[in-house]
Assembly symmetry: C2
Homo-oligomer: 211 residues x 2
């Protein structure tokens, strides 16, 4: 099972690493980090993650993972990337995204009338791009799987692991990453978080001005 995780500048590292540290534990999985040009990509906050393969070296991954992050906006018109995504999607077993990665899938034309989700502040934008938007943690529509913001990539990858390798292996992976979460607050979704916290993020969102 070949997994290609897209890297790009100003992505959110956790969007990629959550799924990575789950999917790489699948029996037989081989995970590659890909980018238009191989080399270090600078995630939000300054960390460099190394993409070892060019998109062109990996035309037919069985799983595609597209992370989000503020650099996503620079990829909305990237025809080379979109063409790679469309071609990869033709033969993929699963085409997936985390957070605003779904906006890139949508821009490539892959979410037209598909049920999909995204980071909570990007859901409106996702709808404008033609998806049938659901505000859920993980959304499956055929072979397209989209996750909500950042940390939702872990839940998505575990759900995917269960579909691919069965419940017991997915449970073993969950136990191997000791994923028994205890968030310190009920603040992880706009429905649960205090209204002033929701407004704080909404006010400084890069989607607030329709980008």
């Amino acid at each position: 099972m070949n997994v290609a995780i897209l890297l790009y500048d100003r992505m959110t590292a956790l969007d990629a690493i959550g799924p990575y540290d789950v999917l790489r534990r699948l029996p037989g999985a081989e995970v590659s980090f890909v980018a238009q040009r191989p080399g270090p990509k600078r995630a939000e906050g300054g960390l460099s993650l190394v993409a070892e393969r060019a998109l062109s070296e990996m035309p037919s991954p069985e799983i595609v993972v597209v992370p989000g992050g503020s650099g996503q906006s620079a990829l909305m018109d990237d025809e080379t990337l979109h063409a790679w995504l469309r071609a990869a999607h033709e033969t993929s077993i699963w085409t997936t995204s985390v957070c605003t990665g779904s906006l890139i899938l949508a821009a490539a034309g892959l979410l037209e009338a598909k049920r999909a989700t995204s980071y909570w502040l990007a859901l409106e934008k996702l709808g404008e791009l033609g998806a049938d938007v659901l505000q859920e943690r993980v959304v499956f529509d055929g072979k397209v799987v989209t996750a909500a913001g950042v940390s939702a990539g872990i839940d998505m990858a575990l759900a995917l692991a269960a579909r691919i390798a069965g419940d017991q292996i997915a449970q073993a992976i969950q136990l191997a990453i000791e994923y028994d979460p205890r968030p310190p607050f009920a603040a992880g979704s706009p429905q649960k978080a205090p209204a002033e916290v929701v407004e704080l993020l909404r006010a400084r969102s890069r989607f607030a001005d329709g980008r």
Copy 2:
């Protein structure tokens, strides 16, 4: 607030990236990835993360984060690293670990009679190294904060964010990473997981033979 996250070969990427994508969002935080020798470090599974600074360039971080992973065992006798950790701990505000990173802190002599935790399969080893072991998600003992396995670094970092910057900012960070977890199974701890899944991991644990 200067944060130093240790990188090394065969670390678990998520151990470092969970805390990274939380702590870097703290107002005024500056996160650096450090290693004995700067350059790319190859995490478990093959991903390279780039350490941009040498330990010697960062003698007094305010927060130290030590991730775990199978490469931890190679650092148990690393006197240069231990000396850096002891010196950093003298002036740090918080000295922290995720997963088997606590074994490294213990080997450096920083957990003697301290309440601490680790990856569930490493708790016995942690006790042998002199810590007062608790099987909890996140353990605070003074300025020493240790987290359980891999994904527990997210919970630890959010708890730390609340202590450092207050509940509202921690809640805003939690909402920014949309951390409203929905694990697909009740399998994230040895108490909750099916017995055969626990045994599966125990049987292939590198701690099974006392390493």
